[in-house]
Amino acid sequence: MSVRQRVIEPRSVQLGMRVVTLLVLLFLYVPLLVIFVYAFNPERSQAWPLPGLSTRWFVATWNNLEVRSALVTSLKAGLGATSIALLLGSLAAFAIHRFRFFGREAISFFLILPLALPGIVTGMALNSAINIGGQVIGLSFSLWTIIIGHATFCVVVVYNNVIARLRRTSGSLVEASMDLGADGWQTFRFVILPNISTALLAGGLLAFALSFDEIIVTNFTSGSEITLPKWIFNNLRLPNQRPVVNVVASVVILASFIPVYIAQRLTQEQPVRAAEQAETEPALQAVAAS
């Protein structure tokens, strides 16, 4: 990794860049902030400035059974999709990293592709697949079809994180472990797993965050099941529900923000010979592309 050259800019350019950076950040975060502020609105109707601050809608939301059941569905879907992603994503990464076989590059490509495919296409495809599955093997729209739908793009996130970590973990570590008398299982347990554990955790957190606020694929695969984003979407246009929607949206924002933040911290930490790590782990790339 080459040390980045510090270019000295004129003062005016420096100032200009700061202003632009600030504007971009405001553009990104002010709308989110507005939602947060409105969540504390004491009234049902939205008007600026707020007449005061209140947590009454938080209480109302907590007691709203529809929201609760949507939250539970979202949590189940997120955990389910994350578990599948952790299992399949890390196994795929091990296989692609460890073995040279025919079609290896192609498989790697097809694993990453769902990240770039428009959600609506994935959704349509899954929808018709589930319909056909319904006729052939009695598959029906349910929590499971949501989980499968989410897993299509969650697997990539885990795969990307794990394979990036494996690539920067020296191959001779495994040989050194075997050389010292450790069999395959001991090597996995004492050498490989500790080296990829933060990548697994980061991948899992990101997968969960992706699943938790996903709506496009969910719409096509959920049937009558209601997830939290779906509930927001359905209730957005009802003025009556507006305050509760604001609270739910705030919770979704937080629930996405925290795992992404932790995941980034985990992948920034560089336990393996810092100087040699040119490759940044694709934690946030994945989120950005989805």
Partner: protein, 351 residues
């Protein structure tokens, strides 16, 4: 006594590439043995097959008389010091050294005692809580050694372990390694492309080229009596004269080598004595290296000879004036070494 390591007609191919083309070797108990050769000569592949990281395509590998060709690495009584050390980055120095004992299920109290001994032996006791990332190159080297020695292997395999160190540290470590090997009277198998390293440390060495062993012998034997043109060229600098060029000097077309430091630069009109060989030529190139000067001389009879002369009285200005001069080269005939084998091959490779 059984040899510590025995290779019988060992071959290794990767697809169409022949890495090791039938090697026979015997490494004796307690000797410091080096595999010396240029990169790609198969020396590291040999080491990896002995360690158990590669399976030979054909042939047998015996450790202490036992055929281990098909045994996995973790069932062989050898340990390796890797070129990049391969220290476990997430473990402390202590845990790294303890690892071999832990995975073999040695009891906690014995582990503690043996790790403490190993750390003390390699002067690492103060560093035991550090992680590899917090160590210098020389310290990592010592951790890698302590870790590999903790299981008391029959043979210690070292894969160019000094390559990453700077010159001074490398020279210190050469002496340390040799001392350590003598103290433990353990068999060391050392892989290197550095002929000086191999000559300094080894009891015996094998020079390898293109997957084959060209010569096995003590450092003095290999240096003084190179068996092939390749060995002559690779171990120390050497001149090879063959065909007409050889005929012009010795009267016979048989190929021979002569070491540059044995040749003396003389005035054109000096007559050699009865025991001396001589050749006249033009100095094409002069390289001043401080303690000595290297002259390349185009011979009248064809071919060229490199001559090394100590700078006894001459300054750099004076030696550089030799360029373009006609000179006579004189040396004691007994230093001519007839060689067979791959002279031609060696020449082509140099181009």
């Amino acid at each position: 006594m059984q040899p510590a390591v025995r290779l019988e007609q060992v071959r290794k191919t990767f697809g169409d590439v022949v890495a090791v083309a039938g090697v026979d070797l015997e490494i004796r108990q307690g000797e410091f043995f080096s595999l010396l050769g240029p990169s790609g000569c198969g020396k590291t592949t040999c080491l990896r097959m002995i360690a158990g990281f590669e399976e030979p395509t054909a042939g047998r590998i015996l450790l202490q008389g036992q055929d281990v060709s098909r045994l996995p690495a973790y069932e062989r009584d050898v340990n390796t010091v890797f070129q990049d050390y391969a220290l476990f980055p997430h473990m402390t120095v202590y845990d790294n050294v303890e690892y071999g004992l832990k995975v073999k299920g040695i009891g906690a109290s014995e582990r503690r005692r043996r790790v403490a001994d190993a750390l003390a032996m390699m002067r690492l006791d103060r560093l035991e809580r550090r992680k590899p990332g917090e160590l210098s190159g020389g310290q990592r080297q010592r951790v890698a050694l302590a870790r590999a020695l903790i299981n008391q292997p029959r043979v210690l395999l070292l894969d160019e372990p000094l390559g990453a160190l700077d010159l001074k540290l490398r020279q210190t470590m050469q002496i340390e390694l040799k001392t350590l090997q003598e103290r433990l009277s353990m068999t060391f198998l050392y892989v290197t492309h550095d002929q000086e390293e191999a000559l300094t440390m080894s009891d015996r060495l094998a020079v390898m080229n293109q997957g084959r062993v060209e010569q096995v012998g003590t450092p003095a034997e290999v240096y003084e009596n190179p068996a092939t043109g390749f060995v002559a060229g690779f171990v120390g600098a050497s001149n090879v004269l063959a065909g007409d060029a050889a005929g012009a000097v010795t009267g016979s077309a048989a190929a021979f080598t002569i070491r540059p430091e044995k040749i003396r630069l003389a005035p054109l009109d000096e007559t050699p004595t009865a025991v001396e060989s001589s050749a006249a030529g033009v100095v094409r190139e002069v390289v001043y290296v401080g303690a000595f000067t290297r002259y390349t001389v185009d011979l009248d009879g064809g071919g060229e000879l490199v001559v090394m002369q100590q700078n006894l009285t001459m300054s750099s200005m004076e030696v550089l004036q030799a360029r373009g001069q006609r000179v006579r080269l004189i040396w004691d005939r007994q230093h001519n070494r007839a060689i067979g084998g791959s002279v031609q091959e060696q020449r082509e490779e140099e181009r």
